[in-house]
């Protein structure tokens, strides 16, 4: 898309004051989003991601800091003066207008000719496969259909950045998956810079080029979904994204890019570059799905064994620590029972030092 803009946030802070309490909802955040990039702001509720999005949109005024959309600092502009469009959590369609007029609203404000409006609305309806819905009012449509209209209404503005405020959280699980794919495909087709707020990590992982994880008003980590998953920089992120076993290990030796550690009595060689020294005790992350059975590096006792369909979930006790294991085993072969002993090994490549 021609108009796609770079978004640059510099030292953005928002302080809310209620009575004597002062809450820093967003604390000195800086972030750059390249043109056409899709980023997700991900975090638990109260982490400041929504406040940040609302500042980008112009619904909240920052306490300090600046927001550039393209070359223009918009931090103190009202929403209507900004080159941004938004898809809302509860669709926010105008209940007194039909689909066509909802989508045409922004173009009418820009005083576009009737011909241009008809053409552009027609195109976007076609793109969304909603040609037959033009005359419907929001109350005559399902949640998924309403959200598509909401998306169309934002997309048609051809704005510099598209903002999403948890747009799928009101839909049922199946529709959510479908819409997720649709949003990603549309975004890639039109190439618009997109900033997407969600608390659903699966949504963030599957949609974005870059995930921004926030907590208590601060950014914890920025990275591609794979980086975030494989190399979380903190215990919080390791546990927040997917499931994780956090285990103690000791660094035995450190040579350029090769690090030897001792984990639960056995040695592993990692390719991580690390900031620690020989002899340090560190924490490592091992995902439950990167553990292999029947390889005798470690021996433990099964404490829990639950068949979940695609996967079989175990908890194994070893040296007073519980290790979660998730084994892909759709056919239910060689299931270990509670109380049995078994041997296993951690997948060397997936061990990551925090």
């Amino acid at each position: 898309m021609k108009n796609s803009k770079r978004v640059e946030i510099k030292n953005l802070t928002k302080t809310f004051i209620t009575g004597k309490n002062k809450v820093k909802a967003v604390n000195n955040i800086s972030l750059t989003v390249e043109p056409g990039e899709f980023i997700c702001l991900l975090g638990p509720s109260g982490c400041g991601k929504t406040t940040m999005l609302r500042m980008l949109a112009g619904f909240e005024i920052p306490t300090s800091g600046s927001i550039f959309i393209g070359d223009k600092d918009v931090a103190n502009l009202t929403p209507d003066k900004r080159d941004s469009a938004m898809v809302f959590q509860n669709y926010a369609l105008f209940p007194h207008m039909n689909v066509f007029n909802n989508i045409a609203y922004g173009l009418k404000i820009q005083k576009k000719s009737k011909q241009e409006i008809d053409e552009r609305v027609g195109n976007i309806l076609k793109l969304m496969k909603m040609e037959n819905f033009a005359e419907r009012t929001p109350s005559e449509m399902s949640g998924g259909q309403q959200q598509r209209v909401s998306l169309a209404r934002a997309l048609i503005m051809n704005s510099g950045v598209l903002l999403f405020d948890e747009p799928l959280s009101n839909l049922d699980a199946k529709l959510r998956l479908h819409m997720r794919d649709e949003i990603r495909k549309l975004q890639q087709d039109v190439g618009i810079t997109s900033i997407y707020v969600t608390h659903d990590q699966a949504e963030a992982m599957s949609l974005s080029d870059k995930v921004v994880i926030m907590k208590d008003g601060e950014i914890m980590q920025v990275g591609s979904p794979i980086e975030i998953y494989q190399k979380p920089n903190s215990k919080f992120i390791a546990k927040f994204i997917g499931r994780a076993n956090i285990l103690k290990a000791k660094i035995i030796s450190k040579k350029e890019e090769q690090t030897k550690i001792k984990l639960l009595g056995s040695e592993y060689t990692l390719n991580d570059e690390i900031k620690y020294n020989e002899g340090d005790v560190v924490e490592v992350v091992v995902r439950p799905e990167s553990i292999k059975f029947n390889l005798d590096k470690h021996e433990g006792k099964v404490m829990k064994s639950v068949f979940m369909g695609e996967n079989h979930e175990y908890e194994i006790m070893l040296e007073d620590q519980i290790i979660e294991v998730s084994l892909n085993n759709p056919h239910g072969k060689e299931i270990k029972k509670v109380g049995e002993n078994l041997t296993f090994v951690f997948d060397e490549e997936s061990i990551h030092i925090i």
Partner: protein
């Protein structure tokens, strides 16, 4: 200290943001000026005047108010009237509300209808009917029983007409409350072994106690502020409102009038504050939540039949009070000569059309302004952040509790002088008393609070993100308001329109202070005619007034249902 600094900084940023949107900014400034100038300034002047004697500060006026035995009796009268009227209205209102919500009774629509009557009729209609029924030439007292020395004028007559006028307030409030109680709460009590009586005493009644207190205080405020009924039927039983008028306009004793006004105002405001900020918080209905399903109504005929008879008797009596007026307007001389005639209407047509035309024209102008302005204010209060927002919200809602006589008195004191630009001789505002302008302002200020409230409550039910969506699509604040907000709250807008028209047409207390030789309005004209014993003409005026108001209401209702249908079809 640091917090304060951040706060100031943020407020400055809000102002800066507002100036980016000039229409919004000017609207806010305009609203602040209007509210200050036409609500606060008059009140301040009343307060100042009450502490002034011969141009210097003095407590003499209050000393007079509390020491002269006549005045003390008037204050006590007012309290007694408020208490008795509120208690009786509450009992009748609760009876109506409880039986219609809990029993299978026919004709519920009629009860809703009589609740509407006091809104469309001028406040002294019931008083006028009471005179027709129980006065010296009364249909019942003299016609039926031949009693010659029965006196309707006085405390008992006043209580009768006030209760009939105000119990619908209690009824409407309590009916909403009782229907908001989840029947499953009562079923739980039954299930745990309570008898039906025990359910009432241990569950239902305790749940509505805050509502009862609320209704009591609202009726109390109405009763002590009432001007029209006491003046028409109070006789020697004088209340503060009447006395304020007599002293302020009749004797031009502004000192004592303002002191009495401040006493009345402090009563009303304190009741209002208790009602709004104390009792309202104690409401349980929000805790019990939504009504899950319909209540099992009492069907036992042993109970419902006598209850129905009582209800219908009371209702018919109320309706009779309203029907008597048109009947009275078509007879020669009530109590003496019941020959049908059109004389009274002919007289009005020949000599007295001015008040009707003037009132209607001014009311229409005021209505249009009020309904737009109240939606704008509701929008600002609910959706925008700006300095002075709390001030506007508080003042306009407080204006509900300010008795009309006090606003009237305040206008007389404040606007009979010329305001000049400081240090110059240029007139900023000429004297406004006696002009149509100040009458329109009075109409607006008196109906604004209800309009704002209904606008606010419908806005609060609409997700703000719909307006945010419009704004991020490029619409300025005024465009958002006209293209999205107004269409979504159009029902509140039109019901506000109807209300302010009815309210303006029937307003008495405030404008009685503002009429002049040029602008004689309808309600004061009716009162003059009652005062001089021309009951037939008074009745004819009242009938015309009720016809105008109800015609406008019906036409508007049809119009609303039409646009409602059109909207759904498109």
């Amino acid at each position: 200290m640091n917090n304060l600094k951040i706060k100031i900084d943020q407020e400055l940023k809000h102002i800066k943001k507002l100036t980016n949107d000039p229409t919004l900014f000017l609207t806010i400034i305009f609203s602040l000026i209007v509210v200050s100038f036409f609500v606060l300034v008059p009140l301040y002047n009343v307060l100042k005047e009450s502490f002034t004697l011969k141009g210097v500060f003095s407590l003499e006026n209050y000393k007079n108010a509390f020491e002269r035995s006549g005045n003390v009796i008037i204050i006590l009268n007012t309290l007694k009237l408020g208490f008795v009227t509120a208690t009786l209205s509450l009992i009748i209102g609760f009876f109506f509300a409880y039986t219609t919500s809990y029993m299978k009774i026919k004709g519920k629509k009629i009860f809703d209808f009589i609740a509407m009557l006091p809104i469309i009729s001028p406040p002294f209609v019931v008083a006028l009917s009471a005179i027709l029924l129980f006065g010296r030439q009364g249909l019942i007292t003299r016609g039926l029983f031949g009693i010659k020395n029965f006196e309707i004028y006085g405390f008992h007559g006043l209580v009768l007409v006030q209760v009939l006028s105000f119990f619908p307030i209690a009824f409407l409030m309590l009916v909403g409350l009782l229907q908001g109680i989840d029947p499953s709460v009562e079923e739980a009590s039954r299930d745990l072994g309570a008898s039906k009586l025990k359910v009432f005493t241990s569950v239902t009644f305790p749940l509505v106690i805050p509502g009862l207190a609320n209704a009591f205080l609202l009726v109390f405020i109405q009763s002590i502020a009432d001007f029209a009924n006491p003046v028409v039927i109070g006789g020697n039983f004088t209340t503060i409102s009447v006395k304020i008028y007599q002293e302020g306009i009749g004797n031009f004793q502004l000192g004592i009038a303002t002191a009495l006004a401040m006493i009345l105002l402090s009563m009303s405001i304190s009741m209002f504050v208790i009602q709004r900020y104390y009792i309202n918080k104690k409401s349980y209905i929000t805790v019990t939540g939504k009504v899950s399903r319909a209540r099992d109504l009492v069907k036992d005929r042993v109970i419902t039949v006598p209850v129905f008879i009582t209800l219908i008797t009371l209702t018919l009596f109320v309706i009779l009070m309203y029907i008597l007026i048109p009947i009275g307007s078509f007879v020669k001389l009530w109590g003496i000569n019941y020959t049908p005639t059109l004389d009274h209407y002919k007289y009005i047509l020949d000599f007295g059309m001015d008040p009707i035309i003037q009132t209607t024209v001014l009311a229409v102008i005021a209505t249009i302004i009020t309904s737009i302005f109240s939606m704008v204010l509701a929008f600002l209060i609910v959706r925008k952040k700006f300095i002075g927002k709390t001030f506007i919200e508080f003042t306009t809602i407080m204006a509900l509790a300010i008795p009309g006589t006090i606003i009237g008195l305040g206008y007389v004191i404040s606007y009979n002088i010329t305001y000049k630009i400081p240090f110059t001789n240029i007139t900023l505002i000429p004297p406004l008393t006696g002009t149509a302008f100040i009458i329109i302002i009075a109409f607006i200020i008196r109906s604004l609070p209800v309009g704002i409230r209904s606008g606010m409550s419908s806005l609060q039910q609409i997700d703000p993100s719909i307006e945010e969506a419009a704004s991020i699509l490029g619409a300025s604040s005024s465009k958002v308001f006209s293209s999205v907000t107004i269409p979504m709250i159009k029902e509140a807008f039109f019901s506000g329109l109807i209300y302010s028209f009815a309210r303006s047409m029937t307003l008495v207390s405030t404008i009685i202070f503002l009429i002049s030789a040029k602008w004689k309005l309808l309600t004061p004209t009716v009162m003059n005619n009652i005062d001089t014993g021309r009951i037939g003409i008074a009745s004819a005026y009242c009938t015309i007034l009720i016809v105008i108001v109800s015609t406008v209401m019906i036409v508007m209702q049809i119009f609303i249902s039409k646009i409602g249908v059109k909207n759904k079809a498109s």
